[in-house]
């Protein structure tokens, strides 16, 4: 969509109809690639393929969102989890959980995750359902006193489930609108 808008502007050529131009546009102004506002943390930006308004784009965005959530255990900065989700109850629950951990001075050890994502189906309203399979290494949450928090020493997990995503034309990005994961074994 951004490409269409940029080309459109190039063809019309000017924004002030009262000031005719007697020169051709410069090469720079006609060949400039439309640039998308970067999204995501600087060291883990949303990849270009996840910003395509296609089913494959939604699959890439779902994979990215889950990976971002797992990486958030290291930073406990939920800014981008919030910005890349919308009306997603379970996403909000994760954000709250991370925020509480940050406030409590909790840190995570381990928990590296590998995410596989695949198209489930397109659903009404332009949303896309994406299936996921996750292998997450064992992890534990440690309090500021260095003690492992009760009930948060977690063995390796195989997770499955899915996300639904809707296209956000303002950010040119997919937003996660629902998330559901369960342990596979």
């Amino acid at each position: 969509m951004a490409v269409v808008a940029a080309v459109g502007l190039g063809l019309t050529g000017c924004s002030d109809p009262g000031t005719p131009s007697d020169t051709l546009p410069t090469a720079a102004s006609t060949s400039a690639e439309p640039t998308l506002e970067p999204l995501g943390p600087a060291d883990f930006p949303v990849p270009p393929e996840a910003r395509e308004q296609t089913e494959d784009g939604a699959v890439a965005a779902a994979k990215y969102y889950l990976e971002l959530s797992f990486r958030t255990t290291q930073t406990l900065d939920t800014t981008w989890l919030q910005r890349l989700s919308q009306d997603c109850e379970n996403c909000a629950a994760d954000v709250t959980s991370y925020d509480q951990d940050r406030a409590a001075g909790t840190r995570y050890e381990g928990g590296d995750a590998t995410v596989a994502a695949f198209l489930d189906e397109s659903i009404d309203g332009g949303a896309v359902s994406v299936g996921v399979a996750v292998q997450r290494a064992a992890f534990r949450a440690v309090g500021p006193d260095g003690q492992v928090l009760v009930g948060r020493d977690v063995a390796a997990q195989q997770l499955s489930g899915g996300l639904t995503l809707s296209w956000d034309p303002i950010q040119d990005a997919w937003l996660t609108t629902s998330l559901y994961l369960e342990r596979s074994q």
Binding site: N90, C91, V130, S160, G161, G162, L163, Y180, L181, E182
Partner: protein
């Protein structure tokens, strides 16, 4: 005695006794749900194995699937739960035509795709991708995706009685018909002296009934009293049962004549199922008390000698 029944203006098909949020507490990155060991009625929604075509086009929810490797499992939630999930308003008043012996509710159905063995799902690209990602048959390969919305036969799930279902029993309870007490007593009241109305019968009563095997304790409460004065002046409404002199709260001034008075009581109630938290019954009903004849007379001053 006469008995009138009034349905609440809006009957919301509330299925749940527990905050819906409780049912959605798992499923997050940090709190994934446990693997489903069996498909059963959950505390905050119904998880079911199949939605089969039923009579009248109403799908029938079942805990078991006839297919050993079903493609989906289903979650049934109320429209209000679905609205909460989507961050939009809730539409109440959606009810289904009753069918004798069946429990039919208006519900939103979501479905979740399940991984199947490759030979049972030829050409299913998503299933192939899930298998390639290492997921085993029977595990989920999607979240819960909107499927349909409408009436569903959930009899086989043996759901707890709903407020609307309890209301049907509520209407049949032998609720007391409260008698009107009048002061001055004796059937004769005075013009110019306010006549006091009250009832001293119990205004709360507990009934225990069996609904489809559930022990349901219904606490009926008299919530409104309508005192019919019988003189065409209109009825007097009070929240309480009134009280005798000197604490009277319901009074009426009569002119000379003979009148028939009675009180109509509007009963509401709450119920518990097998000791659950109390839930409001889905409607109110009324009872009329026995009529009382009154004669209003004009008192005349008479000079008397107290020493006679």
């Amino acid at each position: 005695m006469r008995r009138r029944v009034a349905l609440l203006a809006v009957l919301v098909p509330v299925v749940l006794m527990i905050n819906p949020a409780d049912a959605l507490a798992c499923g997050t990155v940090n709190n994934p749900c446990p693997p489903p060991t069996e498909v059963s009625a959950g505390s905050g929604s119904f998880d079911v194995a199949s939605l089969a075509d039923g009579p009248g086009g109403i799908p029938v929810a079942s805990k078991v699937s006839p297919d050993p490797w079903p493609a989906y499992r289903y979650r049934l939630i109320t429209p209000c739960q679905a609205a909460d999930d989507n961050g939009v308003g809730c539409q109440g008043g959606l009810v289904c035509d009753p069918v004798d012996g069946r429990v039919i509710q208006y519900l939103v159905s979501q479905r979740q795709a399940l991984v199947r063995p490759a030979d049972t799902a030829p050409g299913d690209v998503a299933n192939d991708a899930a298998l390639a990602a290492g997921l085993l048959p029977g595990t989920s390969r999607s979240g819960f995706v909107p499927y349909r919305e409408g009436c569903v036969d959930i009899t086989d799930l043996n759901p707890a009685p709903t407020p609307a279902e309890v209301f049907a029993y509520f209407q049949t309870l032998p609720l007391p018909q409260l008698a009107t007490s009048v002061q001055p007593p004796g059937g004769t009241v005075l013009v110019g002296l306010p006549t006091i109305f009250f009832t001293d019968a119990p205004t709360q009563q507990v009934f225990t009934v069996d609904i489809r095997g559930f022990t349901v304790a219904i606490t009926a409460e008299a919530r409104q009293f309508t005192w019919h004065t019988g003189d065409g002046a209109g009825a007097i409404t009070s929240d309480g049962p009134g009280a005798p002199y000197p604490n009277q709260t319901v009074t009426h001034d009569y002119t000379s004549g003979t009148y028939t008075t009675y009180v109509t009581v509007t009963w509401g109630g709450t119920f518990t199922v097998d000791g659950s938290a109390p839930v409001e019954v889905g409607g109110t009903t009324t009872t009329d008390g026995p009529p009382v004849q009154l004669t209003a007379v004009q008192a005349r001053a008479v000079l008397t000698n107290p020493y006679d």
